[in-house]
């Protein structure tokens, strides 16, 4: 079965179909004089926001206080703010995955569907259907319910693709880019063997951390192929929380692929977070890097990259058939239940996620979540054409990486620990058999 992200999430689409077509223009000055606080993680989207925030203030008369934190600190601060009994923020960036799900379970986040459905609050041109329904699935709860409400709007998305250093591929592999995942693992090993400790076949996130989850899930999706996957359990369960399948041969293969790339990484790759792995690639020491597409623009930035103009972009090489499957994940923006200025906050959210600003911020992130952005001439001109082609191809074969279960991060760490074991030489099937038992015991 081919997975089309554009067609995903029928339940979500039906829930939003009424909401997406309000008729009248709204009064953008209705909340003039108010002051709102927006919490954000420091990233390219936030940089874009800083440049344009005065435009929103001028158009609405609402003063915006941007409270931005380094990504390492952000999640905890944001969760504390959203769960506080006192208002801390009026709008906030949130990971559209189990983080948002847990906030929804804790009744800490405001449903946005009523705002979208209200013609007095939302412009007709806002057009929610411009977001792929598959993206909105990660923010619509209860999961799979026909009456699900939307709790967050995507602001930037990423899919997990292959980056390669053209110079190193030419030097060690005669310019041949691997056509399958097995070829990629072999090619990475070959580069590391010949690299004399200077050049390596791959760089990956390897640190024992939940931050591996999306890249790792994308690689597992590739090994899983087109077979069905159901939310909220995702690929890890056979449609039911009581049926974990962590030792399924295809999942074992996917985790082995991740471990195989780690094996060809630099010696300390098991302590690498995303910033270490991407820096290593940007410094020109690694032939291959499988990670979030949003790294693409930074590799073409002379201020932070030594591989400008030397990076090749491709979808994940296929494992089964001729299609490389992967996952996608998004940052979203939401309104906390404890905000006392929800209408002003909604005006901000609507402005920041409208067509114009989504495209503008997308030039910074390389991951505009609206379909219309990808046909916008300015957006396409701002990004590397190979990057755009690779992401657009990959986007046709992705699924959400999220698992909607409280405490899912603990299982993620167990999976990462298993990947580290396999990378250290443990037998893949025995390792995933042990993982299966460990997870089953944890989930009881």
């Amino acid at each position: 079965m081919s997975i089309k992200w554009l067609l995903g999430g029928l339940a979500t689409a039906s829930a939003l179909s009424v909401a997406s077509v309000p008729a009248l223009a709204i009064d953008w000055k209705s909340q003039s004089g108010k002051e709102i606080t927006v919490m954000a993680s420091e990233n390219p989207w936030t940089n874009g926001l800083r440049e344009h925030i005065s435009e929103f203030e001028a158009a609405t008369g609402i003063k915006v206080n941007l409270s931005a934190f380094a990504e390492d600190l952000y999640s905890d601060r944001m969760n504390l703010a959203v769960r506080s009994t006192e208002p801390v923020a009026d709008a906030y960036m949130v990971q559209m995955d189990s983080a948002l799900f847990e906030q929804w379970k804790a009744e800490a986040v405001e449903p946005l569907s009523p705002y979208i459905a209200d013609a007095n609050k939302t412009e007709a041109a806002y057009e929610v259907s411009d977001f792929p329904a598959g993206f909105l699935q990660g923010a619509s709860f209860p999961v799979g319910d026909a009456a699900a409400q939307l709790y967050s709007i995507p602001i930037s998305f990423e899919t997990y693709t292959l980056f390669y250093n053209k110079d190193l591929v030419a030097k060690y592999l005669d310019g041949k880019v691997p056509a399958t995942m097995d070829e990629l693992i072999d090619a990475a090993a070959k580069v590391s063997a010949a690299g004399n400790g200077d050049d390596f076949g791959a760089t990956m996130r390897g640190k024992l951390s939940a931050e591996l989850v999306d890249t790792m899930t994308g690689i597992v999706f590739n090994a899983w192929g087109g077979d069905p996957i159901v939310l909220p359990q995702n690929v890890w369960f056979d449609g039911d929380w009581s049926k974990p399948r962590f030792n399924d041969p295809k999942i074992t293969k996917g985790l082995s692929h991740y471990a195989g790339l780690l094996k060809s990484g630099p010696p300390s790759v098991l302590s690498y977070g995303w910033e270490d792995a991407s820096r290593f690639f940007a410094d020109g020491h690694a032939a291959f890097f499988v990670d979030a597409s949003v790294f693409g623009p930074s590799f073409e930035d002379k201020a932070s990259s030594k591989v400008v103009g030397k990076v090749g972009y491709a979808p994940l090489p296929p494992v089964i058939g001729d299609v490389g499957y992967s996952g996608h994940w998004s940052w979203g923006i939401s309104i906390p239940k404890n905000s006392e200025k929800k209408d002003a906050a909604w005006l901000f959210v609507q402005w920041a996620t409208g067509k114009s600003m989504t495209t503008e911020f997308g030039k910074k992130t390389g991951g505009a979540p609206r379909l219309s952005s990808w046909t916008d001439a300015g957006y396409k001109a701002a990004l590397n054409p190979d990057y755009i082609a690779a992401v657009q191809t990959q986007m046709q074969h992705t699924r959400p990486t999220s698992v909607f279960r409280e405490g899912w991060s603990e299982t993620v760490l167990q999976i990462v620990n298993t990947i580290q074991q396999i990378a250290g030489g443990a037998d893949p099937q025995e390792s995933t058999n042990a993982l299966q038992e460990e997870v089953a015991a944890t989930l009881k």
Partner: protein, 288 residues
């Protein structure tokens, strides 16, 4: 006289009240949380001793306790010996001692996360300066933070660089405060340096040494930032310690009750250790 004493209590009262609120409220709340299943939601249920049973029986917690113990014992022993050695060496210097003391104290001024980030870069096997310097003398440096055998020793090394100055400065001050007469008498008796150290310096330093050991033990048992910033507890949980696990259990797994139970159990262990040290100190002073 009595009136003066009352006035002292009144003057102390505001500080004592603030201290009590800041200290006792979090402790009492943590103990309360440890008996609940609160997951950062709006409700929580009383679960009795469930969290404590989990903490005391789960293999992962045993591993984290063991790693914490290994780290703490190693770091305290190395840092105390090194701090003592440096203090003795600098005690004999007359010129430039102030400058050396200032330089040795500098690592203490740096925050734990900054220390971890700096050392992560320094220890990077391919781009770090440590392995580069080792290569100049023909030694192939290991993958310090990326392999099981080297990860914990690397963390201990980072902590030693960071915190030895604490032992050094306390012991250095204590050495300067020792009376000169016993040393003068020993010199006239013709005792060796080792005998002087063994029978005069060490016994007189003992109370301060015990204080240093207590402080460093408590501090190392609470290690978090340098592990969080370098290995995250890996590879293969080789550097996972109680505090990183407590943090993850609370803020990543959202099991605040279980995390509070870890903290309660661990605080009791630290309290018992401190009492044991203090008992040792008291016994030394009062053998009867």
């Amino acid at each position: 006289m009595q009136r003066k004493a009352y006035r002292s209590y009144w003057l102390l009262a505001p500080a004592l009240i603030v201290l009590a609120l800041n200290t006792f409220y979090p402790v009492i709340y943590s103990v309360y949380l440890s008996f609940t299943d609160w997951n950062w939601g709006k409700t929580s249920n009383f679960v009795g001793l469930t969290n404590f049973i989990t903490v005391l029986t789960k293999a992962q917690y045993r591993g984290a306790f063991l790693n914490t113990l290994v780290f703490s014992v190693s770091a305290v022993v190395i840092e105390t010996l090194l701090g003592l050695g440096l203090a003795l060496a600098i005690n004999g210097i007359t010129r430039g001692a102030g400058l050396i003391r200032t330089l040795l104290l500098m690592p203490l001024m740096v925050s734990g996360i900054a220390v971890s980030l700096v050392w992560k870069v320094l220890l990077d096997p391919t781009q770090g300066v440590i392995n580069y310097l080792l290569s100049l003398i023909g030694i192939e440096g290991p993958a310090w933070l990326g392999t099981v055998p080297w990860a914990m020793p690397s963390i201990i090394m980072i902590d030693t660089w960071w915190q030895t100055a604490f032992s050094f400065i306390i012991l250095s001050s204590a050495l300067k405060g020792l009376p000169a007469e016993p040393f003068e008498a020993a010199r006239l008796e013709g005792t060796s340096s080792w005998q002087t150290f063994r029978h005069i310096t060490l016994p007189m330093l003992k109370p301060v040494l015990i204080t240093v050991i207590i402080f460093r033990t408590v501090d190392t048992l609470k290690v978090f930032d340098i592990i969080f910033g370098t290995t995250g507890g890996g590879p293969l949980r080789a550097t996972e310690v109680v505090q990183t696990l407590a943090y993850q259990t609370a803020f990543k797994f959202h099991r605040f009750g279980e995390s509070a139970a870890i903290s309660v159990v661990f605080s009791l262990i630290i309290l018992l250790l401190c009492l044991a040290y203090l008992r040792l100190d008291t016994d030394e002073k009062d053998p009867s």
